[in-house]
Symmetry: C2
Subunit: 194 residues, 2 copies
């Protein structure tokens, strides 16, 4: 699997550091090397927050994510900062409630109802981070549901385990379905071209 | 204050990632730039865990701690791995219950009853991470109690806030007293030499 680099971005208070730690631990359970970090500069006080995870079977010498493979974005401001200048191959996942102004992107783009789903199921946005984690992990295809479940159980704050397991499952399904839809769309396009 | 690098080491389950995140956030509240990270290699599955925090008023380009200024060690194994080859100027803080075999170190060494205090006050080791955070932060002298308190309140798991505030206060006092004792010892030694 070489090295997979994830960037989870949004605003403070959305629980993205915790989601990143869960993602990192899932990588450990999968027997990989992992680095997880967050940097806060002056801009951290402005709004956009970012947490990074690198998972791979090689040694990780430089733990910062410079060219991410997967970017999750849960706020318009974070989108502006981290979602606009990505490699074509990078997969961008945005929340369709929080990120409404997006530059068209031909492929590797998912706008998904993360916030809506979490509100519909739990009546608040409390587990949006774990639902989003499920989306990212399942779209990436690099981790098993079992490994992510194990880390969610381990790291969920007391009293929230049940809800977070549910959120993970909803997010996991959402990600799988979105990937399937995108694959179908691509094979149709390829069909058109032939 | 330039750049201060902290290494929090121990075993998985001691809550040192959370302590590192609290320390990082205290740095943000203090208006500093901060990077916080953890790396897990194959050795992570063996036992010794480490979490890193860099706090400073400069931009942080490389977020890994290579030559720490402060090292906290809550297990014998982590001590062997991270406590033995430090610069003379690095300050090493160990728990006197968990780390019993230590190589003599002429200065900058604190062996403190972190586990004992947390057991005596709370009947379990649950807030050892936050008590230790108080010790490290107060010995470092780089952060105000107010800033650390703010991050502990923000990051303490639900239902544990009161206990963790208490743990922080106990650790803070323990660190201040230890530093005072060491300063006195040094001035005595200097007196001896003159």
């Amino acid at each position: 699997m070489a090295m997979q680099k994830f960037l989870l971005t949004g605003t403070g208070g959305q629980g993205l550091i915790l989601a990143a730690i869960m993602l990192a631990e899932a990588g450990i359970y999968a027997g990989q090397n992992v680095a997880q970090s967050q940097s806060y500069g002056p801009e951290a006080r402005g709004g956009a927050s970012r947490a990074e995870v690198i998972i791979g079977d090689e040694d990780i010498y430089y733990p910062k994510v410079e060219r991410p493979d997967f970017v999750l974005t849960l706020s318009q401001e974070a989108y502006k900062k981290y979602g606009l200048h990505l490699d074509e191959e990078a997969i961008l996942i945005v929340d369709d409630t929080q990120v409404t102004e997006v530059k068209p992107r031909s492929k590797n783009f998912y706008s998904l109802p993360i916030t809506k789903a979490v509100r519909a199921h739990f009546g608040s946005e409390q587990s949006a981070n774990v639902l989003a984690l499920g989306v990212v992990a399942s779209i990436s295809g690099y981790l098993s549901m079992d490994n992510v479940l194990q880390s969610v159980k381990h790291r969920a704050p007391k009293g929230t385990t049940e809800q977070n397991i549910k959120a993970l499952e909803i997010g996991w399904k959402m990600g799988l379905k979105a990937r399937e839809n995108q694959n179908n769309k691509h094979s149709q396009n390829e069909g058109d071209e032939s």
